[in-house]
């Protein structure tokens, strides 16, 4: 019998939903085994009955619930709770659901500071009071889903890798556990490492890394060792796919774009502190960790939930 699946999106960009479609044709082969009972992005199931006549929000019961996005409002909190109540297994899909994601960078500011910027300090906007008539209550910050309800399976990434969704769904269909191996992006990166930096200061991506596309990947030096901050050492592996028709080397996505990693898969293991670990990794190859520009926001870009980012007290003038 087909497995019932419910999907909800909370504080989202929609990239994880597009990633589900990016499974491509194999998704069609999975479909007979999956019975989607609720999925607002693709399906017309409504919360209050199809003509809106029923009281209270209702999501159908499902074997597997998938939530993308973090939790920012009371309403999203209710949706997360209803999903937990109705779904036997709850999956957090993508780094927003797992860690807060980029929107949790807002956790560096108070809600008041955000509204001041948007309504009273914007070039094209007629300055106005913050809209307040019957608006939904905001929570004090952006929360990862597991700060609100218990999560059974984590599939991080911004967005995640479609192959991981297939692996997770297949495991669930077979009644098996799905968990990513605790490896770092560096562990699957093919670039050449010499365990020490080439020398000089930490560089911003204002100029190109050195690379040669005409030669195999291990002819290109590790970007971090070239001096460009790369979060590979403290980021969970899983983004990369094999090049060519699956028989080539695995290359992390951003490295393939000749750009350093920014940590979108989040920490390698639960409870890790990427900021501290990254400072250690930088120092260990002889670079000066103090030179990292905008350190706090850069090293917590995708993981600002779970209290990793919070407003700092105002600096004394």
């Amino acid at each position: 019998m087909a497995v019932k699946v419910a999907e909800e999106w909370l504080n989202i960009c929609g990239g994880c939903e597009v990633t589900i479609l990016d499974i491509g044709e194999p998704l069609l082969d999975l479909l007979p085994e999956l019975n989607f009972v609720h999925m607002p992005v693709l399906m017309d199931h409504k919360y209050n009955g199809q003509t809106g006549d029923k009281e209270g929000m209702e999501i159908p019961e499902a074997d597997v619930g998938i939530i993308s996005g973090g939790v920012r409002t009371e309403k999203e909190k209710k949706v997360a709770e209803e999903m937990r109540n109705k779904c036997k297994t709850l999956v957090a899909l993508g780094s927003c659901a797992c860690y807060g994601g980029i929107p949790a960078m807002a956790n560096m500011y108070t809600v008041e500071a955000l509204c001041d910027k948007v309504y009273r300090d914007s070039k094209t906007t007629e300055p106005a009071d913050t809209p307040s008539e019957n608006l939904p209550p905001l929570l004090d910050r952006v929360y990862a889903v597991d700060e609100i309800v218990k999560v059974d399976v984590y599939i991080p990434g911004c967005p995640t890798n479609p192959d991981l969704i297939v692996k997770a769904l297949t495991a669930l269909l077979e009644g098996k556990e799905f968990k990513l191996e605790e490896r770092s992006v560096c562990d699957e990166c093919p670039l050449k490492r010499e365990k020490k930096a080439a020398g000089g200061d930490i560089k911003r991506t204002l100029d190109s890394v050195d690379f040669d596309q005409s030669k195999p990947w291990d002819n290109t030096r590790c970007f971090m060792e070239q001096g460009y901050l790369c979060l590979g050492p403290v980021t969970l592996a899983g983004c990369g796919n094999k090049e060519g028709n699956g028989d080539g080397v695995t290359v992390p996505r951003c490295i393939k774009g000749m750009m350093p990693c920014r940590g979108c898969f989040g920490p390698i293991r639960k409870g890790a502190n990427p900021l501290v670990d990254m400072m250690t990794a930088i120092s260990s190859i002889g670079l000066d960790a103090k030179q990292v520009p905008d350190r706090r926001a850069l090293l917590n870009r995708y993981i600002g939930g779970q209290k990793r980012l919070r407003p700092l007290p105002a600096r004394p003038r």
Partner: protein
């Protein structure tokens, strides 16, 4: 008085709710669509190094990340005072057009299409892409594959297809190898074949069946905003803005001067702002007497341009214009216009891949931080996308202003929903199919509420207000 709710609005990008209030006779009293999400990008981008923004603002939208990525990279070019090498610009343009192809296919077949393919009255359980795949397996497989081709192509050019990283200040992070071009060409041919199929399929099997709906649902009269080249050709990556009035007269302006032409109105009942044409007077969303309202997205671009750069798209534009006039105002024609743009982009991708310069080795110039302001703009699928940044001497961001495609259409979406509800609901009679047809007026705009609510994250919800003839609020309904 009775209240009808549609919650959530489905098959759009983001969450919304529609509430419709009926008077004592069961006719629509008045509706007011109110999007209540806000996000904080304009705040939390401040303090970040400018060159990091193209990798942060992508998360405004996972459906159109490439366009935010490129607008941000262009704003960076302006801030650092550089012009990318021709190959760098062509690689950005290539990625933009590939992304467009997937976006059009996604909207037409996965979001809006099920209403037309399965029918607006079909049961909700099959009125979706899964229903299409089950009832027309051949079309289903074709559609799923064609949309996925774009992602595969962007993976080849750039590594990361969603939330990309390769557009950088001063150009593009790496050249396209000859080997990669060879991989891309057959995929691009396949996308073009699909675009031809989609256009023919829609013209033969879809649009003729729904002419009555096209003529009656969501009809409003507005101006239009899009981008053209100096000779009036439709352009997506770089050009000048053309703002057209309902009588087809128009003015043009440089992107950097956008603030002189576009204002953003704030209503106390909505987090989402209402852009309007400053030169056309105060904003009014009155259906009988609208003022300063313009629309963006595919229909707007098709309306404002004089011509299109590729032969198949140009032929379709001529046919469209012969049938529907210029500017065409029928909201459901957005779906038609999108397929013409799909064809254009598929042709443009091949054109670029066959350009010898596309595999040039010089793709970027280095940049040096300075204090400056930079406006970067592209035509995103949902409309003219404006990123406006300022930096200090270290190249750290000090100010950000964003106007995104869907936000331009905030007022028109409100008006089209109201028009559709008033047309379809009479004497208290409504059913699931009628409510779905009201949603079709929203889906035609392909609204991306993730994009439109980039200001401060919150739930994406919608509130409707009922007002009397004097504009006084007599009732308010919201989904929270």
């Amino acid at each position: 008085m009775k209240t009808i709710t549609i919650y959530p609005v489905t098959r759009i990008e983001g969450h919304a709710k529609v509430t419709i209030n009926l008077d004592d006779d069961g006719n629509v009293a008045d509706t007011f669509v109110n999007v209540v999400e806000l996000r904080g990008f304009e705040k939390f981008c401040i303090g970040r190094p400018a060159e990091e923004l193209p990798r942060i603002v992508t998360s405004i939208c996972g459906v159109c990340p490439w366009h935010h990525h490129l607008a941000s990279a262009k704003a960076n070019d302006a801030i650092f005072g550089v012009t990318p090498p021709p190959t760098g610009i062509k690689l950005r343009d290539l990625c933009q057009s590939i992304a467009y192809c997937s976006d059009k296919i996604l909207h037409f077949f996965f979001l809006a299409g099920p209403d037309f393919v399965m029918g607006p009255d079909a049961d909700y359980s099959v009125r979706n892409v899964i229903g299409i795949a089950q009832s027309n397996p051949e079309i289903g497989r074709k559609v799923v594959r064609a949309r996925h081709l774009g992602t595969q192509m962007l993976g080849i050019t750039s590594g990361k297809a969603i939330h990309p990283v390769t557009a950088v200040p001063g150009g593009f992070s790496k050249p396209l190898t000859q080997a990669d071009r060879e991989k891309l060409l057959p995929l691009a041919e396949e996308v073009l074949e699909f675009a031809k199929f989609a256009m023919a399929f829609a013209k033969e099997s879809i649009f003729p069946k729904y002419l009555d709906l096209i003529k009656s649902i969501g009809i409003i009269e507005t101006g239009f905003l899009g981008t053209v080249t100096d000779d009036g050709t439709l352009e997506l990556y770089d050009g000048k803005a053309r703002l057209m009035k309902p009588d087809a007269s128009y003015e043009e302006f440089e992107y950097a001067d956008y603030a002189d032409h576009i204002g953003e109105h704030v209503e106390p009942w909505s987090y989402m702002k209402f852009p309007y044409a400053k030169d056309w007077g105060p904003i009014s969303m009155d259906l009988d007497n609208p003022s300063a309202i313009y629309r963006t997205n595919a229909l707007a671009r098709i309306n404002v341009c004089d011509k299109m750069a590729t032969p198949l798209a140009q032929a379709e534009l001529e046919e469209f214009r012969d049938t529907f006039g210029r500017p065409a105002q029928q909201t459901l024609l957005y779906n038609y216009a999108r397929l013409i743009e799909l064809l254009y982009n598929a042709e443009h991708v091949l054109e670029l891949l066959n350009d010898p310069e596309i595999t040039g080795q010089e793709t970027r110039v280095p940049v040096t931080p300075r204090a400056a302001r930079g406006v970067g703009c592209v035509e995103a699928p949902r409309g003219t996308l404006i990123h406006d940044y300022e930096t200090d001497e270290k190249g750290l961001i000090t100010n950000v202003n964003l106007i995104v495609g869907t936000t331009h259409n905030n007022a028109p979406i409100n008006m089209s929903v109201k028009q559709a509800a008033k047309t379809l609901i009479k004497d208290g009679n409504y059913d699931e199919a009628i409510l779905n047809k009201i949603e079709m007026a929203i889906r035609a705009y392909d609204p991306c509420l993730s994009c439109a609510t980039h200001k401060l994250d919150s739930s994406i919800a919608v509130k409707l207000e009922v007002r009397d003839s004097n504009g006084q609020v007599i009732d308010t309904i919201a989904n929270w």
